[in-house]
């Protein structure tokens, strides 16, 4: 059974373009509305699976229409389709509970992909779980090899549920996007010193220099890995936070709300623990 879509747009031309893109993707356009006046009645009559919603419309705009629609049916799945896409409109869309956001002019393939993800939000998360750790491992291997001139191999950490104890220096980077998550990189002070020396081609001057190197290395790995994932599917929309560093003791590291996938990178300077985890999200921004 094909997915039923309702198109809300004041422009007959836009409705036609979106309708054609949807038909080509095998979706059925079951209703159209050009303003708030006919929105709820049409929605209740045609019972669509997804609604595409323009923002700039005469009278009530797309945000107001979305609010009304969600009041009428709190489960309504709405994808904003608009030429407007800035921080403020994204924030407003999030507050309303909009599921996706596609910028005009509409690329049919992108719209279809967003609808697919809105209809099965878990699939994007599953892809991330499948590809996430491998991508971060690739980014770590590439950059440690490039910067410190040392080959990297990985060993699997068998018992994933055992709490992880820091080897000395831990970096935590928050990841924001369709699914939010964390990257944890951990290594001993000795390994960090040796890697810093490998990168700097001289012994590090002090502990601060070593810590700064670790933070920057983690930052580069997380940034590159997220860019690689975003290139595979921009619906991931991943962004990274600046790194937090923890050091000076043998702390236990836990992420209660995220299942962290773990791997151990082996280098001639010592091992580097890599942990990556994501939690399910429901926002899709393109």
């Amino acid at each position: 059974m094909s997915i039923k879509v309702m198109v809300v747009d004041d422009s007959p031309f836009s409705r036609m373009m979106i309708g054609e893109a949807l038909s080509e993707g095998g979706y059925e356009v079951v209703g159209e509305a050009d303003s708030l006046d006919s929105l709820i009645e049409t929605y209740n009559n045609c019972k669509p699976d997804v609604v595409t919603m323009d923002i700039a419309m005469p009278g009530a705009d797309g945000f107001e229409c979305s609010r009304e629609l969600r009041l009428n049916d709190p489960k309504a799945k709405i994808i904003l389709v608009s030429s407007m896409k800035d921080e403020e409109s994204e924030a407003e869309a999030k507050r309303i509970g909009v599921s996706g956001y596609v910028q005009k002019p509409v690329d049919g393939e992108t719209l279809i992909k967003v609808i697919k993800n809105v209809m099965s939000p878990d699939s994007l998360f599953e892809q991330l779980m499948e590809r996430g750790l491998e991508t971060f491992k690739e980014a770590l291997a590439q950059n440690v090899t490039r910067m410190a001139k040392t080959p990297v191999t990985f060993t699997t950490i068998e018992n994933c549920d055992t709490p992880y104890m820091s080897q000395g220096i831990t970096t935590v980077i928050g990841i924001i996007g369709q699914s939010s998550g964390s990257m944890i990189m951990d290594l001993s002070a000795e390994s960090a010193e040796k890697i810093a020396e490998g990168i700097l081609r001289r012994p590090p001057k002090n502990r601060e220099e070593v810590l700064a190197m670790v933070a920057e290395l983690a930052n580069i790995i997380a940034g590159i890995a997220c860019s690689m994932l975003n290139k595979k599917d921009k619906a991931f929309a991943l962004r990274v936070s600046p790194p937090s560093l923890f050091h000076g003791n043998d702390a236990e590291i836990v992420s209660p709300s995220v299942k962290i996938q773990k791997s151990l990178a082996q280098t001639e300077f010592g091992s580097i623990f890599l942990g990556v985890g994501f939690k399910k999200g429901s926002m899709l921004w393109m």
Binding site: E87, E88, E90, A91, K94, R95, S166, T170, V172, I173, G174, I175, I176, S180, G181, S182, I184, L211, A215, R239, V240, S241, P242, P243, S244, L245, F246, H247, G248, N249, D250, A251, E252, I253, V254, S255, P256, S257, V258, G277, K279
Partner: protein
């Protein structure tokens, strides 16, 4: 760092904690430290990304963290800071920071997102935040000492 950035966090803390079983949320004092500070016990790390970015951390000594988790679990005995207690305090961190994002939006700082919490548990450790200065807000929550470290730019 702009000290006005702490107001939404103060509001969020005072808003959320009574909802999860605490009666008296008192702000004791505010201090300024550099990017590195010492911690003992439990430190909850939540990253913030958006028009301002950085990190919010919530710290307690181990005994306080157990008392805090116990209070959240309606007085259930918490002998060890185990997975359930870790989950409880991490959820508190998540709720406070998510609420802080809403409070930030009210003063025009929109579109902030937070990462899932990561908890460090250990004695005699140091944390280095990705900002030159960290504001530390000292709270007493039903007699439990809680420190909130704010490093946002």
């Amino acid at each position: 760092m702009d000290v006005n950035l702490i107001n939404p966090i103060l509001v969020a803390f005072a808003d959320i904690l009574p909802q999860i079983g605490f009666e008296k949320v008192e702000k004791k004092n505010i201090s300024l430290v550099g990017s590195t500070f010492n911690y003992d016990g439990v430190l909850i790390n939540l990253a913030v990304v958006g028009s301002i970015k950085g990190v919010i951390m919530i710290g307690m000594d181990l005994d306080s963290a157990k008392r805090f988790a116990s209070k959240m679990m309606m007085g259930m005995e918490v002998a060890d800071f185990d997975a359930l207690a870790q989950s409880a305090v991490s959820e508190m961190g998540n709720m406070v920071c998510a609420n802080a994002c809403t409070q930030f939006a009210k003063i025009g700082i929109n579109g902030l997102d937070i990462s899932p919490p990561t908890i460090m548990i250990g004695q005699g450790g140091q944390a280095t935040l990705p900002v030159p200065q960290t504001i530390v807000i000292h709270f007493s929550v039903d007699g439990i000492e809680v420190k909130v470290y704010v490093g946002l730019v």
